[in-house]
């Protein structure tokens, strides 16, 4: 869209970055979650973020979506330094980001069509007819054409995920974020969702950031993969480069080898008793 500031390329041949993260540090209470993350997401790529439980991947995703405060470091999303944005500018930025949440997050009291149309109602002044057509188009894209009058409770798990995708893309976001899109789905339906992600990138030129722990899905869709480990980046590269890595921790991840939980006793006690403050959303 014409008013979107375009990030500057540093070299003629360099990919255009839609997200730039430098030395990102974040805490939940006294606990450091992200320990100096630096990474870029290129325009039109599918970046998969992987890591074990507690690696910080979901926290990183929320930061990339401009949903949380960070302790230090810088983040530029679509060319804008989020620390320099006021609330209105932050809302404007978020309208250019689509999010497909892990559980679908559809409102149970609204029809599928109303759920998909909701962002248009909230953020645009388009004519109702235009919104209805856009909604039906996006439902068609995710192969839910004709399902707009059903309630979410009438959909299967895979259909709910696809409806969530339709809502996430209804405003033609520049960047689509997907949190564990395959979680809880059988392999066939999960593979269909992978195909949908590839279609959205290829056909609409969306940049897609996916958090997943599904290795098959990651290797199928990723242009590049970021592996997080205990709040630090262990690896950024292509799927082939990841496979070829001789790093033991990466091999453990690829081979699904469990690692020792190194949480100390005091941290564990604080977590159990609630003395470790919860995260603070923006």
């Amino acid at each position: 869209m014409s008013e979107t500031p375009e990030p500057q390329e540093t070299e003629t041949s360099a990919p255009r970055n839609v997200i730039e993260v430098r030395d990102l540090v974040t805490h939940y209470g006294d606990r450091m979650i992200l320990k100096g993350i630096s990474m870029d997401v290129h325009a039109d790529e599918i970046m998969v973020i992987m890591g074990g439980s507690g690696s910080g991947k979901s926290t990183l995703l929320r930061h990339l979506m401009a949903l949380e405060h960070h302790t230090s470091g810088t983040m530029r999303i679509l060319g804008q330094d989020i620390d320099e944005l006021n609330n209105v500018e932050l809302v404007d930025l978020r309208q250019k980001l689509g999010v497909a949440f892990q559980g679908g997050a559809l409102f149970s009291s609204m029809t599928v069509g109303e759920n998909v149309m909701l962002p248009l109602f909230e953020h645009t002044k388009l004519d109702r007819k235009t919104m209805e057509i856009m909604t039906r188009m996006k439902l068609q894209v995710v192969e839910l054409g004709g399902f707009e009058n059903l309630m979410p409770s009438e959909l299967s798990g895979g259909m709910i995920k696809r409806a969530a995708f339709a809502r996430a893309i209804v405003m033609d976001p520049k960047i689509l974020f997907c949190d564990e899109p395959s979680a809880g789905l059988d392999p066939v339906v999960a593979s269909q969702l992978d195909d949908l992600i590839l279609l959205l990138r290829d056909a609409l030129g969306m940049t897609v950031v996916v958090v997943t722990h599904e290795l098959d899905s990651a290797f199928k869709i990723a242009d590049r993969i970021t592996v997080l480990d205990r709040g630090e980046i262990l690896f950024i590269g292509t799927p082939d480069e990841l496979r070829a890595s001789d790093n033991q921790r990466i091999q453990n991840l690829l081979n699904r080898v469990a690692e020792d939980d190194t949480m100390d006793a005091e941290t564990y006690l604080n977590r159990l008793t609630g003395d470790e403050p919860a995260y603070r959303p923006l």
Binding site: M1, S2, D127, M131, I133, M134, M137, Q140, D172, G205
Partner: protein, 106 residues
């Protein structure tokens, strides 16, 4: 976004220029429905459209349906690669009649 409406032979040509997106598509919709209201075949010239989002495509769809109900034709001309990708993704490339150029359409 700018647009121009002109008559060419028996048709009305609506030529758009620039981006048709969430901000500009209401104006595009109004222009399209006005052109349809003229009662002649409508050709939508997209040659100078650098970007069209789904709100713009939805406006085209509404205009096409309105034209059809009035017994008129509404066709697209000089659709860019990007716009064609959006049309194909929504399976609308089979719904619209698409010409290579305005000259082919009128």
């Amino acid at each position: 976004m700018k647009h121009e409406v002109k008559e060419a032979g028996a048709s009305v040509v609506v030529a758009f220029e620039g981006d048709i997106d969430l901000q500009t598509s209401p104006a595009a919709r109004e222009a399209l429905l006005e052109a349809v209201g003229m009662g002649k075949p409508v050709v939508v010239d997209l040659a100078a459209v650098s970007y069209i989002d789904s709100s713009g495509v939805a406006s085209l769809v509404e205009a096409l349906q309105t034209a059809k109900k009035g017994g008129q034709d509404l066709t697209l001309a000089a659709v860019s690669d990007g716009a064609m990708r959006v049309l194909k993704l929504a399976r609308l490339d089979a719904v619209f009649t698409i010409h290579d150029s305005v000259d082919d359409a009128v």
